[in-house]
């Protein structure tokens, strides 16, 4: 296969290991490509046709000719990459033909509108998981298992130390923390990714405890979550020049603003972070936080193993995260599993 260099693309990511090439999917420098349908999945760079699993910025990137995503993903993707992009959408489960390929979207349970993409070419079925979680989440469509010949799985949390508790427990912990802070007259500043995690937390808040505020990056997604049926509490967007009494409030903000002047408004606040990474104490302590809540929108170790097994796939490719450990483990269990080329390790900043 030919590798053509891409402008501004870091060369370190071009690793020659474990390229995928079969009649359904192949690895290209921009990402996974389906030759039979002439489209890419979650590509980088600029390609004519991008099929997108979900609206997070490391999957739905701006700059492509046209996009295809799930119906509920569409408004979120538009917010991320611009209203003027050419985006078409499909309801979950509906099959369409793109060239020689039959394509359908199936809920991934990661965030609202997140999809696993099923591609069938001449009887061979591959599924690209995007990011997924089999665990319950009241703010998005429930994960649907899709049987296939080949499965491309994420593995952000591919170590057995990552095991999630039921989300009700975490919601309880968050509400308990909020109540405690409110009793002490202190704001609760909770960092959570602005799309997905923030809404999931909002849906679990006990709004009798006080007023809920959100950062401007979280706010625009809320109406689309509500339209899709999520029940969220009334919130106030924190805006420049407006003064509120934050002393008993819950404030949800993306982790990226932790170091910005924005957070200075909440100097006295207790600070928390909701993320799967918080499962490890060192990650919690390094961030200088008062609390870490272990709430993730990805599959945990057991979730990865169950899903991968249940797909009955003959070939497994893992991407995003600590693929080496999961791969070796699955290989020892007799699975045909390798790490997909270009699979970068995720840092604690993303999820």
């Amino acid at each position: 296969m030919t590798l053509y260099p891409l402008k501004g693309f870091p060369s370190t990511l071009i690793t020659q290991t474990f390229f995928l090439k079969n009649e359904v999917l192949e690895s290209r420098i921009q990402g996974l490509y389906c030759p039979a349908g002439d489209f890419f999945i979650d590509p980088r760079g600029n390609v004519p046709r991008a099929v997108v699993t979900h609206a997070h910025s490391d999957h739905g990137r701006p700059g492509h000719g046209s996009y295809l995503c799930s119906d509920t993903c569409e408004p979120l993707l538009k917010l991320r990459i611009g209203q003027d992009c050419r985006i078409e959408s499909l309801p979950f489960g509906k099959q369409i033909k793109i060239g020689e390929a039959i394509v359908s979207f199936h809920p991934a349970g990661h965030i609202l509108g997140s999809a696993q993409i099923r591609i069938e070419v001449r009887g061979k079925v591959w599924v690209v998981s995007g990011d997924y979680k089999p665990q319950a989440d009241q703010t998005c469509e429930a994960f649907e298992l899709v049987k296939c010949h080949g499965y491309v799985s994420e593995c952000t949390f591919g170590l057995p130390v990552y095991r999630w508790q039921p989300e009700q427990m975490i919601h309880q912990q968050i509400n308990h923390w909020w109540a405690e802070n409110a009793r002490d007259g202190l704001p609760s500043l909770l960092f959570a990714y602005s799309l997905g995690k923030a809404q999931r937390i909002l849906a679990g808040l006990d709004n009798n405890l006080g007023q809920v505020f959100v950062h401007g990056a979280v706010y625009p997604f809320l109406e689309h979550y509500e339209r899709a049926g999520a029940r969220l509490p009334a919130v106030i967007k924190v805006e420049r020049g407006q003064d509120h009494d934050f002393n008993q409030a819950m404030i949800i903000a993306p982790p990226a603003v932790e170091d910005s002047t924005w957070t200075r408004k909440f100097r006295s606040a207790r600070k928390g972070f909701a993320s799967g990474w918080m499962a490890v104490r060192g990650a919690r302590r390094r961030r200088n936080l008062d609390r870490g809540f272990i709430l993730s929108d990805h599959a945990d170790w057991d979730g990865l193993l169950e899903v991968i097994k249940a797909t009955e796939a003959e070939e497994i490719k893992v991407t995003h995260g600590n693929g080496d450990a999961l791969t070796r483990y699955l290989q020892e269990q007799g699975s045909n599993c390798t790490v997909l080329d270009g699979a970068g390790i995720r840092g604690e900043e993303e999820e």
Partner: protein
Amino acid sequence: MKKFASLFHDLDSMTKTNDRLDRLVVYFENACPGDSIWVCWFLAGNRIKGAIKTGELRSFLSERVNLPLWLVEECHDRVGDLAETVSLLAGSNTVNKPISLDETIRKFLMPLRTMDTEERKETLYRAWDYLAMDEMLPFHKLLTGGFRMGVSKGNLCKALARVGKVEPAVIAQRLSGSWNCDNLSLEDILDPSDEAKDRINRPFPFCLASPLQEKAESLGKIEDWQVEWKWDGIRAQLLTTVGGSGMLWSRGEESMDESFPEVLECIPHLPPGLCMDGEILAWGREGLRSFSRLQKRLGRKNPGPSIQKKEPVRFQAYDLLRVHGEDLRSMPMEKRRARLEDLLKKVPDHLPLGISSLIKEKSWAQLELRREESRDRGVEGFMLKKKDSKYESGRVRGSWFKWKVDPFLADMVVVSAQLGHGKRANLYSDYSLAVWDESGKLVTVAKAYSGLSNDEIEEVDKFVRKNITGKFGPVRGVTPSLVFEIAFEGAQSSGRHKSGVALRFPRIQRWRKDKKIEEADTLEVIRGYAGMNDEVCNETGPKSDADGNLLLF
């Protein structure tokens, strides 16, 4: 075990010493005494030794959770702590019938030491079945011996003192030495009844001098004042009890017996019921050595003979507060001094015990001239004590003064910043400061927290947030641009810092907005202050005889 687990997790998440202290008090007030005594035992630095080898623990774990050993090790690498790895992998959502910390330790930990491998494995498996998720980490911290909760022995004593209304010094005496949970109870530790008996064995609150802020002449006649060098060491009281034992007590309200055993060897040669105030100094054959030499002994418990020989110390006495159980503190300074001189004359010469010599000058002006010797002598200036003054508790004004030499000053560049705590939480108020080395690179020599006004801190904070260049844990790299004038008391060589020097008491004198980073000082200048450009000086320190008299002339 529930209360202990909650104590453990709370202490673990707390960042302030005082919060930890408060939390510990709450624990002792609510936990049963049989559990509390174990917490005392662990916080006093004791460990259950030989319960299990880490390799064995890893292989038990691998077998139990049905994961290959390499994967357990992979997890250990990610988590960075074996106790936590075991807790994460073997933890389950069991709901158990609560048992006490005491029972947990006696049932699952202590017996491990004498068991064979099979029995040990079975016992651990039972523990893993039994323990709830939140009890796992504290349990395994006790098992692997890595039990640290950010509470020093001194703070433990303070917490117990608050619970039992007994003084920390009494608690420290009761907790010192070797004991176990079978031969000492919490009741013994907190027993107020023998307070009176203990009183004659107890240290006194330290009398602290104020800085001299006016002209020395304003103090009146020089003849009314006792003048000594201000020693650069560790303030301490050396005590003997009527029972023949003794203690070395620090200003931080901690016993230092384990750090300086040679000083305790003086005790049999001293009268009973004694309390002397003085300073622990690094002191070799040639006399006083620099504070950096003393630092080699700090934090080192039970030092061996070789380090004791290489880095000798002595107790430099300057006040006598009690002898034969008689409290002398209301006696005038002059009389106490006379009694002290008398007493030390009778002590054998070979002991690491000295007296702080007096400086006699006819006028304040002449004394001020002699103050110039301070740097060469390795002292910080003068102590001025009114001859008719009592020994008071805490900071006093008007009778004890410290007349320090002026600090060193250097211009330095802010290269990284960290969020402050308390009132300064969320503000970048802690800075790392650098100077230029020979190759034209900025090297960090100090960290400073204080000295700027609130407005200035806000201004620096704004700058930092806009100019972050990298993250190193909680530290943020900052584009070098700001120049601060830093005051400090001294510099010494240090293997810990890349620059090879460390400063004492650095603080921000002022913000040099008029200076560019190119105008900041060089490492050579700082080294000059440390006397590090001068090899001889670095090796032997200031020259003085056994009484601290100058040998430079």
